[in-house]
């Protein structure tokens, strides 16, 4: 491991944040399996949800290599307050417009984050991000196509997309909640930081939303939904964790 000891807590925090986001959103999106709006979209959305679980697994594996428990224990064995996911991924799936907008806003940020980490000084993390760039590119192509087409559809689709964007935006800003380790991540060359990521994300989504005929709420007029990165979650996370870990808790040592 090419990382000096002083930076380990900062890097672990970053990877927990990323992995928990992938796990929780992957689980949420998989709730559409079998219930999607049409068969083809159901399959595509479920497949991308599985991709997310794969990303989570790979990231937990990096943590295991840094001395944490095995990936299953990290995913299913932690309490609500130990989870570092942002509020955006915790919300119930709602109607398809909400799930689609969340998928768009999250995956755009995720793709940029992975892109920034490709040249990270922490090789184990850089390797993981390199492996999944193709998948994330597809996720953003899929999300972008839907958002642009529904934004330019009829009145109903445009109004629904605009309303759901207004609802999602403060939650999505919570993705970039500063961690307290920002300076260490930047100075170690592991990650350029949430502020840089947010700036790149705003510029990318602004461009796409313009093509979609949708307007991004004024960033100064909304309050970002912070807290998730510090273990303070919405009312929706606990029931999700209970449901997700129900079988695991019966026998954590079971071999599958």
């Amino acid at each position: 491991m090419n990382l000096s000891n002083e930076y380990i807590p900062a890097v672990k925090d970053l990877i927990f944040r990323m992995a928990d986001d992938e796990l929780i959103l992957g689980h949420r999106n998989s709730e559409w399996t079998g219930l999607g709006p049409i068969l083809e979209e159901d399959i595509a959305f479920s497949s991308m949800a599985q991709d997310k679980l794969g990303h989570a697994q790979a990231l937990y594996q990096v943590l295991t290599g840094m001395g944490e428990s095995d990936p299953d224990t990290l995913a299913f064995g932690r309490e609500e307050k130990q989870m570092k996911c942002c509020h955006l991924v915790e919300y119930p799936i709602g109607e398809y417009d909400f799930s689609l907008m969340r998928h768009f806003l999250f995956d755009e940020a995720d793709a940029i984050r992975f892109d920034m980490l490709v040249n990270s000084s922490f090789e184990e993390l850089a390797n993981v991000t390199r492996k999944f760039r193709g998948e994330l590119k597809y996720h953003t192509m899929h999300a972008k196509a839907w958002v642009i087409q529904l934004g330019n559809g009829n009145d109903e689709s445009r109004i629904r997309m605009q309303n759901t964007l207004n609802e999602c935006f403060p939650l999505a800003l919570g993705i970039f909640e500063p961690s307290g380790f920002e300076n260490q991540l930047i100075e170690s060359g592991v990650f350029k930081g949430e502020a840089v990521l947010q700036e790149r994300w705003i510029s990318e989504i602004s461009h796409i939303l313009k093509l979609a005929n949708l307007s991004l709420p004024d960033i100064d007029s909304v309050r970002p939904s912070y807290g998730g990165r510090k273990g303070i979650h919405t009312e929706y996370l606990k029931p999700l964790l209970d449901e997700m870990t129900e079988v695991y808790r019966i026998d954590p040592k079971a071999e599958w």
């Binding site: 049409i38 068969l39 083809e40 595509a44 497949s47 597809y138 196509a145 839907w146 087409q149």
Partner: protein, 128 residues
């Protein structure tokens, strides 16, 4: 008959939806169905594209995106084509007989030429 009871399912997602036990079943307006596209995929660069199936999509862009997950999720694929099913011209079912071929046409087929003897002779002239 409509009742106020909602569906209780083993799948918690279904129970959460509070769906009526006897839903109003209105048939979907025919125009709400999307058109179909035929999907062709290429396993590796240079290969022929092969027809692998069809799918519903509102337009070609979405058809390509959805085809990627329907037909290239598990198998190797480097490229996909989609074509609107309605854009494909086909021979008539009643004209199937035009493909029937008489057995006396061997002279027109590659299998009709007896060349193996000559190939073997070329490979190993001493043997023959």
């Amino acid at each position: 008959m409509k009742t106020d009871k909602t569906i209780i399912s083993l799948d918690p997602r279904i129970t959460r939806e509070k769906l009526p036990e006897t839903p109003d079943q209105k048939p979907l307006n025919e125009l709400h169905h999307w058109q179909t596209f035929e999907v062709f995929h290429q396993e590796k660069t240079g290969d022929h594209h092969k027809h692998v199936g069809s799918l519903h999509a509102p337009n070609a862009e979405m058809a390509l995106l959805l085809a990627k997950e329907q037909f290239a999720r598990r198998y190797k694929c480097v490229n996909i084509w989609v074509v609107k099913t309605s854009d494909i011209s086909r021979t008539g079912k009643e004209d199937e007989d035009i493909f029937e071929t008489t057995p006396e046409k061997m002279y027109r087929e590659a299998g009709g030429y007896k060349v193996m003897d000559r190939i073997n002779k070329f490979k190993d002239p001493d043997k023959i």
